[in-house]
Symmetry: C2
Subunit: 136 residues, 2 copies
């Protein structure tokens, strides 16, 4: 396969307390904020982004006990949650991956706030939940 | 605290099979190789790096059952293992963090192959094993 222009969009952490996490990663460690805290109601989470070089660190705190993130936190504790890479053409990439037998959570792209994305199943990516964004 | 020039050096994954991981992340997903597979004998691991934008993805496979990485794999399964950020002055950063009550695994920098590094304890960084490199 020829080398493609894959880049890192963000690294996501699940946290127990978003305020405490912002104190550590932002104030104490020194990563600058990248936008404001947001509530994603349909996913039951509060999120914040910090800038980390050319990419971002996403902090995710579940707002209830029922979301996928809440179940992850209950099962594994706080820590690294997923990686998100950007690809130039998401439909093409998903097609290539599926043709190679890679298990996808989303076989076709979903869309949020104008951003097209899909998740690869951790069973195919060595236990890592992998999100793919289509580059703007 | 003023904004500092923190950047991402690498994201590390613990894997069960380095060859399989290189097939997925390299051949199938398309991340280019960044160097050759190396054995780190005193840590009991084989590692490989792939390029991921301006940063790198480190794949770590334990060679025995006794290393810290092997215990991590046995306890948590394969997946995200640690993050590594670069700072301009590692001694200064470790001093600042310690003064703020952050628990460090290495209170003073260690060195490997000319690279100065230290680990922050996951108890202080929300469950994330965080490595700090001093920028060359």
């Amino acid at each position: 396969m020829e080398v493609e222009n894959l880049s890192l969009n963000h690294i996501a952490l699940v946290v127990e307390d978003l305020h405490e996490a912002l104190v550590f990663w932002g104030e104490q460690l020194g990563l600058p904020a990248a936008g404001v805290v947001q509530t994603i109601h349909d996913e039951g989470v509060d999120i914040a982004f910090l800038q980390i070089g050319a990419a971002r660190l996403e902090l995710i705190q579940p707002r209830d006990q029922e979301s996928g993130v809440a179940r992850f936190l209950a099962k594994r504790g706080p820590g690294l949650h997923h990686l998100c890479l950007e690809v130039p053409d998401l439909d093409a990439k998903l097609g290539e991956l599926a043709a190679q037998g890679i298990e996808l959570i989303n076989e076709s792209p979903r869309e949020r706030q104008g951003r097209r994305y899909a998740f690869v199943h951790p069973a195919s990516s060595g236990g890592v939940l992998l999100e793919l964004y289509e580059r703007h």
